[in-house]
């Protein structure tokens, strides 16, 4: 068991390094650099960057150096625990990301919990009562949830919120509390703003999870051990929940690997539409502005999250599924 985890950890470190090289290379792929996108951005805003100024900026940011020199410079900083300065925000990257990270985690965890609270019971219900009216209704709503693009849903909810309830447009705080220090009022204000984004983000995932749960459980329910359990006189709820559901949970555990990075970045478009101060829009902006150290740091963070997530799912799987455990030892 320990050897198994140890092997995984070593592999994980190597993967993270590969991710850092790849992410840096990918960020450099589009034409131009931070300065050229800065010039274009200024032009879009009706402003001008002179040739002299552009030249000055390139010298200051060291953009004329070859790519590997820039990469090594970046790596050297990271090894020292310094993630560099964002070119666009002119603040340390850790600060820029850090402020938004907790908001992102909050919203995504809320969305995740909502997804599971809805998806697991409904999934179990539709499997056990296959082809019943309830199953059809759940399936129908599930497919609608899956098919409606969540940014569109976000727009519609924003508009309705404004027209019907005079709600504040976007963001996670009311304007008057935006800069206030943390207090009970601010926490309450935040809690009032969380449900809508969490609902929108969770909805598509819910439909997917319902289908997965239903399909897996249906497979299990037909297996002989379920029949045996029933024939031995176990109560129906015990028959279903104790064994088949536990096995059907495997995919949930193995998708945690992807859920963790999703928590950080999965909500880019919805966050943009709803004006949420999360990491998603930050990554998008950094990529557009070719602010490579900021974008690189976020991509690296996502990479590390995926690796850690996968590690957690591996361990979880070993824990909940004895078959895997036995194979390994």
């Amino acid at each position: 068991m320990l050897a198994y985890i140890g092997r995984r950890v070593v592999l994980a470190v190597f993967t993270v390094w590969a991710i850092s090289v790849l992410s840096f290379a990918i960020i450099q792929l589009p034409p131009g650099d931070y300065v050229s996108s800065y010039i274009a951005q200024m032009a879009s805003m009706g402003s001008v960057v002179t040739d002299e100024e552009a030249q000055n900026l390139r010298i200051q940011y060291g953009l004329g150096q070859p790519m590997y020199v820039q990469y090594l410079k970046w790596m050297k900083l990271i090894v020292q625990g310094d993630f560099g300065m964002s070119m666009e925000w002119k603040r340390p990257n850790t600060e820029v990301i850090g402020a938004r990270l907790w908001m992102t985690v909050l919203i995504s965890v809320a969305a995740l919990i909502l997804t599971w609270i809805l998806a697991l019971p409904i999934g179990i219900y539709s499997a056990v009562r296959q082809y019943s009216v309830g199953d059809y209704v759940a399936t129908f709503i599930g497919f609608v949830g899956l098919a409606v693009p969540n940014f569109l849903l976000a727009l519609v909810l924003l508009y309705l919120g404004f027209v019907l309830f005079d709600a504040h447009i976007g963001g996670l705080f009311s304007p008057e509390l935006q800069d206030a220090d943390w207090s009970a009022a601010k926490v309450w204000d935040l809690l009032k703003h969380v449900p809508i984004p969490a609902l929108i983000l969770g909805l598509a995932g819910t439909a997917q999870q319902i289908r997965i749960m239903r399909a897996n459980l249906l497979d299990e329910l037909r297996k002989p051990y379920v029949v045996t359990a029933r024939s031995k006189g176990l109560s129906e709820s015990k028959v279903v929940l104790k064994y088949p559901v536990r096995v059907a949970l495997n995919p949930f555990a193995s998708t945690i690997g992807y859920t963790l990075p999703y928590i950080v970045s999965g909500s880019i478009i919805v966050s943009l539409v709803l004006g949420l101060p999360t990491v998603g829009p930050l990554l998008l902006k950094a990529l557009i502005a070719q602010d490579m150290f900021l974008a690189g740091t976020i991509v690296l963070l996502l990479g590390v999250m995926t690796v850690i997530g996968t590690l957690i799912s591996d361990i979880l799987l070993v824990w909940i599924d004895p078959r895997i455990r036995l194979e390994e030892t």
């Binding site: 050229s36 996108s37 002299e52």
Partner: protein, 683 residues
């Protein structure tokens, strides 16, 4: 006017179509009706506050905001008269003397949107600035500017007793420090600015006494006052300090970050502690008006929470030199709060919901019906500020295009360019995309502009005339057509196809308009391909001389000599070029690139000459430049003088001293041209 009334059906139908396109089912037909009624009332009379220079009219006593008065009482601040100094900058408000208090809420899109703050809150802090028409240079931070030595020397008089926002005196030393230790430091400013030079020869700044400096140039530089007033490299600390320019800097504060004044070891430690990678980056950050709350400034509001946080907040500068005609220290409004919006839709929605007090940046003309519909509910009024420049949208021919000799040949044929311009139905575009608020025509600026060559140039080669366009194209050697009616290339290689490069996500929908032009050009047998590209790619393609036609605007070109980017091939790094090699030739004073010939050369010569001649002669040269530009159609004007670029303004109804129309331009830093220091809350 009577002709307009005769075609109401068509107008309504078209506007409805547009709205249906843009908003789908959300918008109701009421909006179209409201729009038709209010179009005339939305665009008001150009007006604005004035700078008072007559010594007889200056106020004798000064007053201040209540919270500052309290601080004076508590002994935390010196009395108001001491803070302002002997020579206040007196502004006569547009309507009336205002009241102190309140906050101004607006939206911005992140640190790259620093223009937002300059435009609202920098005062401006230019040494000289424009009057509200944007035409005349008036004193501003400096009390006056005298010409000597036939335009070679400019004597600048500062305001006596004026102070930085930390209470330290603002003197000639701050200009000399900027010039000697920032501008001339090769690390801070590696390449010198063209604004500090005439005919490529750099000028110098010399101190005369505490409140007087001289700008000396080797040759006459009659444009210099305009350069101080415009958004140039000598355009003040707020706008240019972050790149080591601006013409002055707070010496007493910045010296602690400059290697000339502190030991290298001490400086290195400061750089390391603040996590910068070099002293240069730290120094420029420290001189950044939008980012450093500790920076002493001259602007009426100063940054409290910086532009790289979710809320950019600015508060009144207790040492502001601005006063109204009754002696009240300005600004009236205590605080400006700009909240970060992750995207433009959120800004537009918040404006519609009445969450902003004055917002015009990022508002979308296409949403005008929705803005109007929600005026009462949101407690605001909508104003339109059309620009003075001739092109909200222009199309540039790349005169240096050489990848395809056939296309290069036609781009350099004057009648080809003219014919294409005649093939555009500008009225249709105006109705669809400008909701009828723009003016169709050539590239020349508004008729009242001092460089406008005459009203006949508005329509020169800029009306719809399909018959004439076809005749011209037939005549120059493009008479043969294929089965679908498109003209064939003269070298026998099939259909003549030309490409236009556009950028998405701009103030004007260049791609969609180009698609409409593509349809219109079918009637003159021209096959246009529209290519929308990402902006970095656009820059790369123009730099590599790969662009054929480019769509953009010519905003700012009404100030021909401070903003000439889109009048002729001027700028090398641009997202739409009319000739990168010619531009390089012009910028390098003939050492690189390709020398133009004929009338383009004549245009460039006249343009260059204008900087060194007195204003009257300069105006004549400016008119000549526009005449050539309009007649040769290097750049096709489509729709101009419209409110598409930052010209839709939403202002709360209880805000005072709000102009019904303002000069809208980057050079005017609109709305700063209307002096936001005089805005106030009526209740």
């Amino acid at each position: 006017m009577s002709q307009r009334r005769r075609t109401p059906q068509i107008r309504t139908l078209r506007s409805r179509l547009t709205i249906a396109l843009v908003f789908g089912a959300l918008t109701v037909a009421i909006a179209a009706g409201a729009l038709a009624q209010s179009k005339s009332t939305l665009i008001g009379k150009l007006e604005g506050p004035e700078v008072v220079t007559d010594p007889a009219k200056l106020p004798k006593a000064f007053h201040e905001a209540p919270q500052l008065a309290e601080q004076v009482k508590a002994g935390k601040l010196p009395p108001v008269a001491e803070r302002i100094g002997q020579d206040p900058l007196v502004i006569k408000p547009l309507h009336e003397i205002g009241k102190y208090g309140g906050a101004w809420r607006g939206g911005f899109t992140g640190p790259a949107d620093f223009w937002n703050g300059y435009r609202c809150c920098s005062g401006p802090d230019h040494l000289m600035f424009w009057d509200y028409t944007g035409d005349k240079v008036t004193p501003n931070i400096a009390k006056g500017l005298d010409m000597q030595d036939g335009g070679r020397t400019w004597v600048l008089h500062l305001r006596r007793g004026m102070k930085w926002s930390d209470g330290k005196p603002f003197t000639a030393d701050d200009l000399v420090f900027w010039f000697e230790d920032i501008y001339r430091n090769k690390d801070l400013v590696p390449t010198p600015s063209a604004a500090m030079a005439i005919n490529g020869k750099q000028g110098v700044i010399e101190k005369v006494d505490t409140s007087t400096v001289k700008f000396k140039f080797p040759e006459p530089y009659f444009m210099f006052p305009d350069m101080l007033a415009g958004s140039t490299d000598v355009g003040g600390q707020a706008w240019r300090g972050a790149v080591g320019l601006g013409a002055y800097a707070p010496a007493h504060y910045l010296k602690q970050f400059h290697p000339k004044y502190v030991g290298q070891a001490e400086l290195d430690k400061k750089v390391k502690d603040a996590k910068f990678d070099s002293w240069v980056r730290m120094f420029l950050y420290k001189n950044d008006w939008s980012l450093n709350p500790d920076l002493p400034v001259l602007s009426p509001w100063k940054t409290v929470t910086p532009a790289n946080t979710p809320t950019w907040t600015l508060e009144r500068n207790p040492y502001s030199v601005y006063v109204d005609t009754a002696g009240n220290q300005l600004p009236y409004i205590d605080r400006v709060v700009l909240t970060l919006a992750e995207n433009l839709e959120v800004i537009n929605l918040r404006a519609i919901a009445g969450e902003y007090d004055w917002q015009q940046r990022h508002l979308d003309l296409g949403k005008l019906p929705v803005f109007l519909e929600n005026q009462v509910k949101g407690g605001y009024k909508v104003y339109l500020d059309p620009g003075d420049y001739g092109g909200d949208m222009v199309i540039k021919f790349n005169l240096n295009y050489d990848a395809d000799p056939e296309i290069a040949k036609w781009f350099n044929t004057t009648d080809f360019r003219r014919a294409l311009s005649l093939g555009i139905d500008r009225d249709q575009i105006n109705e669809t995309f400008w909701l009828g608020t723009g003016t169709p025509g050539s590239v020349v600026p508004t008729d009242s502009n001092k460089y406008n060559p005459g009203p006949q140039y508005r329509k020169l080669w800029a009306t719809l005339d399909v018959k004439k366009a076809n005749e011209m194209l037939d005549k120059i050697g493009l008479a043969k057509k294929d089965a679908e009616g498109f003209r064939l290339r003269s070298d026998g290689k099939g259909r003549l196809r030309i490409e236009i490069m556009t950028l998405g996500g701009q103030f004007v929908q260049f791609t969609q308009i180009s698609e409409m032009i593509r349809e219109q050009w079918k009637k003159i047998g021209i096959d246009l391909q529209v290519q929308e590209v990402e902006r970095s790619l656009a820059l790369k393609r123009t730099a590599a001389n790969e662009q054929q036609l480019g769509a953009w605007n010519n905003d700012g070109s009404e100030h021909l000599f401070t903003f000439p980017l889109h009048v002729f091939p001027f700028e090398v790094a641009t997202v739409a070029s009319s000739g990168p090699l010619y531009a390089k030739w012009f910028q390098s004073a003939g050492t690189q690139g390709k020398e133009p010939t004929g009338r383009l050369k004549e245009l460039m010569d006249k343009y260059r000459k204008a900087f060194g001649v007195p204003e009257k002669e300069r105006i004549e040269l400016g008119k000549e430049v526009w005449k050539i530009a309009a007649d040769e159609v290097y750049i096709v004007g489509v729709i101009g003088m419209g409110p598409a670029s930052m010209g839709v303004r939403v202002v709360k109804t209880n805000m005072g001293n709000v102009p019904s129309r303002q000069y809208n331009s980057p050079d005017g830093k609109t709305p700063t041209i209307s002096r936001p220091v005089t805005f106030y809350w009526k209740k």
